[in-house]
């Protein structure tokens, strides 16, 4: 992975920078020892590693402010990191940049039950919010599969989705207010701590959500809480073929039902999770759909019948409805742990994230099967079928020369196929470094220029998480001086990374 050339001058200052940063956060919380920096070399993609210059763990928003101001003065790059579960390399360190880790900022600051809002620090793991309000019958809805550990700050930065986002919406739909620190150390506050607080202001919250750590460091989040649905049941439907399962996805939504979740797992994934789910699957099962229905008891009972009928008409071998909450939790936890469980099948995997219109599912899945033959690499499929968000998991062995390159090419082909089918590169994992060089396939140069101007408005010095998302540097300094004429591309000669 090609990254911006690190500055040797900055790297030479490592010890001096460490001393200065320790003045801000305390001795223990600047990690400069080589052995101790090593575990921070990668996030959820182990294929890309880089040694951070220093790792800094602030204990308050005020410290974040001082750190950023200091780095801005010294021209030191900063890569934000939550729990390092990004699947797009968003938290991949830079050798001449500090890694700013939010793991110590992990408190739920306030729960306002009447207004259904919680104010939290960015390093709080997603699940901890729901745990903190569970006694009030409330929860935080977006539930990425990594929710046990991925942080809310990381969720905001990636605009994370999850199993229940089909009905309830993604992270962006559940954020009411943000506090963030710009690279200069300036603190900005957007929205507020109640529903509608952001009415009337320009939707900068929408800009920051999903900005992958390129615009500002998020230091506080006001999230919306929802009542836990009265009843929720999940139907497992097994199908003899991938096509029939895909057709059933369309048929369920076509019947006017928006399930709380609608997930697809193919045979390989099923075999990997069967231990976790404590269940074996019929040998004819090629794919399983999990469909969650929630609401009042009467509503759910009625929906369960409709969905079961649809599934049978679409050729389901078997439909099973969860009877207890414990069983439902077990089924979802097996789905949520599925990516990691693939680790049992292969030494390494590469998971991409393209999203396509639901009706294109069979077409794109067939193409994927052909690509697998072409590259000689096995893959498994486990994805948010309801919103057409594909997660092919390409299996490879990093120890085999050439395998990673093949996996990358396979992944790129899948993403290109998604865009060509009218879809997008990323549904929820973000662009990071992984899809960076494919951005030109989805966006025109004009689009990319406009996006880079937003980056320059927030971080003209280009010190926050550079080398991610955009295939070229932004050259903010020039943006300031030049005008866009008739949408002409201004820098046709800028080299790609």
């Amino acid at each position: 992975m090609q990254m911006p050339e690190p500055s040797q001058a900055i790297m030479n200052q490592r010890e001096a920078l460490a001393v200065a940063l320790r003045q801000i956060v305390g001795q223990e919380w600047v990690i400069s020892d080589e052995a101790e920096r090593r575990p921070y070399q990668c996030d959820g993609i182990t294929a890309y590693m880089a040694m951070p210059l220093l790792v800094v763990l602030p204990g308050s928003a005020a410290e974040v402010q001082q750190i950023l101001r200091f780095c801005h003065e010294r021209g030191v790059k900063v890569v934000p990191r939550g729990s390092g579960t990004s699947l797009s390399g968003g938290a991949l360190p830079l050798e001449d940049g500090i890694l700013l880790v939010t793991s110590r900022l992990c408190n739920v600051l306030e729960v306002d039950a009447p207004n259904r809002v919680a104010r939290v620090q960015p390093g709080v793991p997603n699940i901890k919010i729901s745990e903190a309000v569970q006694h009030l019958g409330l929860c935080y809805m977006p539930d990425p599969s990594s929710q046990l550990i991925s942080t809310i700050g990381g969720n905001v930065a990636e605009n994370a989705g999850g199993v229940h986002c089909l009905k309830y919406g993604v992270t962006a739909n559940h954020i009411l207010g943000l506090e963030a620190v710009l690279m200069t150390g300036e603190i900005i506050r957007l929205g507020g701590a109640y529903l509608g607080a952001a009415e009337g202001e320009m939707d900068l919250m929408g800009v920051l959500t999903g900005s992958e750590g390129l615009l500002a460091m998020v230091t506080e989040i006001a999230v919306r809480l929802e009542p836990v649905p009265e009843v929720a049941r999940v139907i497992s439907m097994s199908f003899p073929s991938v096509e029939e399962a895909c057709a059933c996805v369309g048929a369920i939504v076509g019947a006017g039902i928006i399930p709380a979740g609608l997930e697809f797992m193919d045979r390989k994934v099923l075999d990997a999770v069967s231990v976790l789910i404590r269940e074996t699957f019929d040998s004819n099962t090629a794919a399983l759909l999990l469909c969650e229905l929630d609401g009042t008891a009467v509503e759910v009972d009625a929906l369960v019948d409709v969905v079961s009928d649809v599934a049978r008409n679409q050729g389901a071998i078997e439909t099973k409805v969860s009877t207890t909450e414990e069983e439902r939790q077990r089924i979802w936890s097996s789905r949520k742990l599925a990516f990691s469980a693939i680790g049992k099948l292969c030494p390494d995997y590469y998971c991409t994230d393209g999203t396509i219109p639901r009706n294109k599912l069979p077409e794109v899945l067939n193409k994927m099967a052909d690509m697998s033959v072409k590259y000689g690499l096995d893959y498994a499929n486990c994805f948010h079928a309801g919103d057409g968000n594909l997660h092919p998991i390409i299996m490879y062995d990093a120890a085999k020369p050439g395998d990673l390159e093949k996996a990358e090419a396979f992944g790129a082909d899948v993403l290109i196929a998604c865009v060509d089918a009218g879809g997008v590169l990323s549904g929820e994992h973000g662009v990071g470094v992984e899809k960076r060089d494919l951005m030109t396939h989805q966006f025109t140069d004009i689009d990319l220029n406009q996006q880079q101007m937003v980056k320059c408005a927030f971080d003209p010095a280009e010190l926050l998480n550079p080398g991610k998302v955009f295939p070229t540097a932004c050259r903010c300094a020039e943006f300031g001086r030049m005008h866009v004429r008739n949408g002409a591309i201004r820098f046709p000669d800028i080299p790609r990374f």
């Binding site: 020892d33 052995a35 101790e36 110590r104 550990i149 990691s340 680790g343 049992k344």
Partner: protein, 440 residues
């Protein structure tokens, strides 16, 4: 995750080869961080399972003596195995850390004070007699403990304020036959632990009564003793092996004798984890591999065994609200989660779970002596969580946790078997009889 451990190192040491495979299974998903007690306290990747896997990878890739920082982070691991229990990718962290620790002890020279402390613990803990003497000495020094800090202070604080109970007659090698008039259904050997024997004799007594009452003959086999875990946790494999071999010999002598043996019963889950791992520990020794595997296959926690044979109907009206604390070696090491709670329920108790129940209490074998700071924070958190459910009694299946927590939780703390024994006709546990219960 790919590692670059030199082939020569892998060829020279089968454990390093195994480490490479285990590291290869880790996909760096981070799920294990959510369960790790040291990460919960420190919030730092190097004090998390995923971080330690990276550190071990670095240690083997570099070869030679590990650096101080790596050793410190590996030392801080509680070996609670919460990470291994939740890992969806099946990473065998327990093996990775155990062999990593052996490597550290072989290649790293510890500062003098650490060497003395570790050496004395390795000698003391497996020997109930010596342990008694040390505790007696410690009692003399107790009034002066305010003068000390760190590990020494933690050791002194561990010394019980009361004199130890007299050695129990049940801990001598002997056979406890079933009561006259009952038929013998099973015959088992009981591991009469080391520390446990000295600290709380009532647990073994209750275990034997409970088994006898259920038609199970119990032998305390001549030559069996400490399971070897204390030495092994400190990476002192050479010190653990003789203990392991003595146990294997003692139990197989019974198993292959005229009376036979249906199981080896363990009532301290920390020891249970270790006996169940004998097979792995001895796998490379052709003389012992099979024998060790046989013993591991026979090992049962008392709660597993009672579940298999079925608990008789309770005779005492119990109804108490019991908060069940699952030891790490129970829930993560042996994955025994529901059996103890189900047994308590069927004996008539109301069973409550501890919030954040997956977090270690900080006791973890000798950990509270070696890492008093983290252990202290974890203990405080566990105590707060136990208190939060307003139970009348606390129960657990591991003496280590009981020692760490009793006296702090504000309610009597007993072993699960003591409650089961009581409910099915045994005496009321002493800790209960001594304290007026908080109102139901």
């Amino acid at each position: 995750m790919l590692s670059h451990i030199p082939q020569a190192a892998q060829d020279a040491d089968a454990n390093i080869k195994l480490a490479k495979e285990i590291i290869g299974n880790c996909v760096h998903c981070g799920v294990c961080l959510s369960r790790c007690p040291t990460y919960a306290v420190k919030h730092e990747e190097n004090d998390s399972p995923r971080g330690r896997i990276f550190l071990i990878k670095g240690m083997y890739e570099k070869g030679g003596a590990p650096d101080d920082r790596t050793v410190e982070h590996l030392d801080r691991c509680l070996t609670c195995l919460a990470c291994e229990a939740i890992c969806p990718s099946g990473v065998e962290y327990s093996k990775l850390i155990a062999h990593g620790r052996e490597y550290v002890e072989q290649h790293y020279r510890r500062p003098l004070f650490q060497r003395i402390v570790r050496e004395s613990l390795i000698r003391l803990l497996p020997n109930a007699g010596l342990f008694r003497k040390a505790i007696a000495l410690g009692r003399l020094a107790r009034p002066a403990r305010g003068l000390f800090s760190g590990t020494l202070r933690a050791m002194m604080d561990m010394v019980p304020a009361k004199p130890l109970p007299a050695p129990s007659p049940v801990d001598r090698p002997q056979t406890f036959t079933v009561k006259p008039g009952t038929t013998r259904r099973k015959r088992v050997a009981l591991l009469n632990g080391c520390v446990q024997t000295a600290l709380d004799t009532a647990i073994n007594e209750a275990t034997i009564r409970l088994l006898q009452r259920h038609g199970v003959e119990v032998v305390v086999a001549r030559g069996s003793g400490c399971c070897g875990a204390p030495a092994e946790h400190m990476g002192a494999e050479d010190k653990a092996l003789p203990l392991v071999k003595a146990n294997i010999d003692a139990w197989l002598r019974e198993a292959d004798g005229p009376e036979g043996l249906d199981a080896v019963i363990i009532n301290t889950s920390g020891c249970g984890t270790s006996v169940k791992a004998y097979g792995h520990a001895m796998r490379l020794d052709p003389q012992w591999a099979d024998k060790a595997a046989r013993v591991s296959a026979m090992a049962r926690d008392i709660s597993e065994f009672m579940t298999e044979i079925g608990l008789m109907p309770a005779t005492q009206p119990a109804g108490l609200r019991v908060v069940y604390h699952s030891a790490c070696s129970m829930q993560h090491g042996q994955r025994i989660i529901n059996q103890p709670k189900d047994l308590l329920r069927s004996a008539g108790f109301t069973v409550l779970d501890v919030p954040e129940g997956y977090l270690c209490c900080g006791s973890a074998g000798t950990y509270n002596l070696l890492q008093p700071d983290i252990a202290g924070q974890l203990k405080e958190r566990k105590v707060r969580n136990i208190r939060s459910v307003n139970a009348q009694v606390a129960a657990s299946g591991n003496i280590g946790c009981m020692t760490q927590l009793a006296g702090e939780v504000g309610i009597p703390f007993v072993h699960t078997v003591e409650l089961l024994d009581w409910a099915t006709g045994g005496p009321e546990p002493a800790a209960l009889a001594a304290t007026p219960l908080v109102a139901g």
